[in-house]
Symmetry: C2
Subunit: 241 residues, 2 copies
């Protein structure tokens, strides 16, 4: 459904408040032109969070929406006894606060120091009312997120530990390529604990799987937070059983 009307407006004036924003093209704002974006930006504000800080808790009133411009966030939920599941990571350009409910169902925390553009819900909705293209793009983003989340159901419901870890690395790998990074050097901003809670495993298992992949010469552990993918084809076969 990539209609012409959803094409991005490429050029921004130098001096524009969003000039130099590295994520505009892949974010909600990408469809706005100079004037529209200036007006839109003025309805919001830039906010910063330190690593570990909480943007909102599960159960907090959902009165703002955000676009992440730098850093990494995690969306998570705790069971009463402390078990944690991470529903997703938010990378620059991603939209946060998709819900139409009154309360957030998940907690959003900064994994690394992060910057976001924040908009109040009422203002955001008014803006949407006046910009149907933006609403359509928002819909496309949510629909895409839904598809990705369903894919994660397959991972959690049916894949083995090895398949989960490899799928995760490939997923981040394709993200990096999207961001213009090297295709085979994957940066992992999150801890082993975050990875484990995203993949439905324990940190020991994640660590063991990474070590096993390294021993099999399929990856290289270039640092605690970076991995080099050595054999994409074999990894892709591994990821799907």
């Amino acid at each position: 459904m990539a209609t012409a009307t959803l094409d991005l407006k490429p050029d921004l004036d130098t001096g524009h408040p969003c000039f130099g924003c590295t994520v505009r093209e892949i974010s909600l704002c990408g469809i706005l032109d100079n004037e529209e974006l200036r007006a839109y930006k003025q309805t919001g504000a830039t906010v910063r969070y330190d690593a570990g800080a909480t943007i909102f808790f599960e159960g907090d009133p959902a009165d703002s929406v955000y676009t992440l411009t730098s850093g990494t966030l995690r969306l998570s939920k705790l069971l009463p006894d402390g078990r944690r599941q991470i529903a997703g990571f938010i990378f620059p350009g991603n939209f946060l606060g998709i819900t139409m409910e009154d309360e957030h169902a998940f907690t959003a925390e900064a994994i690394t120091a992060s910057e976001l553009c924040r908009f109040s819900r009422p203002k955001f909705e008014t803006y949407l009312d006046e910009h149907p293209l933006m609403e359509r793009r928002l819909y496309a983003l949510v629909a895409h997120e839904l598809a990705a989340t369903r894919q994660q159901l397959v991972l959690l419901g049916r894949k083995t530990a090895t398949e989960r870890v490899v799928s995760f690395l490939l997923m981040l790998g394709s993200r990096c390529r999207m961001d213009g990074g090297l295709a085979d050097e994957v940066h992992l901003p999150m801890s082993r604990s975050d990875i484990a809670d995203y993949l439905g495993l324990r940190i020991e298992t994640v660590s063991r799987e990474l070590s096993a992949l390294k021993a099999a010469r399929l990856i290289q552990l270039t640092g605690t937070h970076s991995v080099r993918l050595l054999e994409k084809a074999r990894l892709e076969a591994l990821a799907e059983g």
Copy 2:
């Protein structure tokens, strides 16, 4: 975000093509009035599928969207070796074909004989262009679906077999109450195999868990496809660990 503009239009003329449609109020169409609905309905067609029939396969071009009016569907995905994950069940009133991609990422099959209202994507999108309230409602539906799917991530990633089965029963229970059925009598149109593939378990485990809940006098198995929930409070405690 339940604004007044999203309220349903209640009364339909007798003789209206959608008069008697039992799911209009909880479906996408709920916001349309007599005239709008008549026009909308004319852009689509009613289609029927037998139990077991496939509405579309993973990878098929996504050229139609649907509203389920009767029956039950499953959305599933197969791994190359035959492992299956069911991403969700579709009940009457639910929208099918949310994707904005060109291809369906999941296979949709009829669990029981089903009826759907089908609309071609281009016509549907044209209709959305002209009816912003409908688009907003569609967004709300998808956002809600995303939240539900993320909740399912918690189930698959972190819950035990018992917790999964109990969560599933309670989920269907709250659905029944929504549909005006008895709150504690849950109908399970799907097979044990479908339940297992939805919960990331094997059918033997599902069966054993149900037997154990019955032995604990927490449920009654009133038939292969129906369960009575006896102790909601204790079940709810069980579902969350």
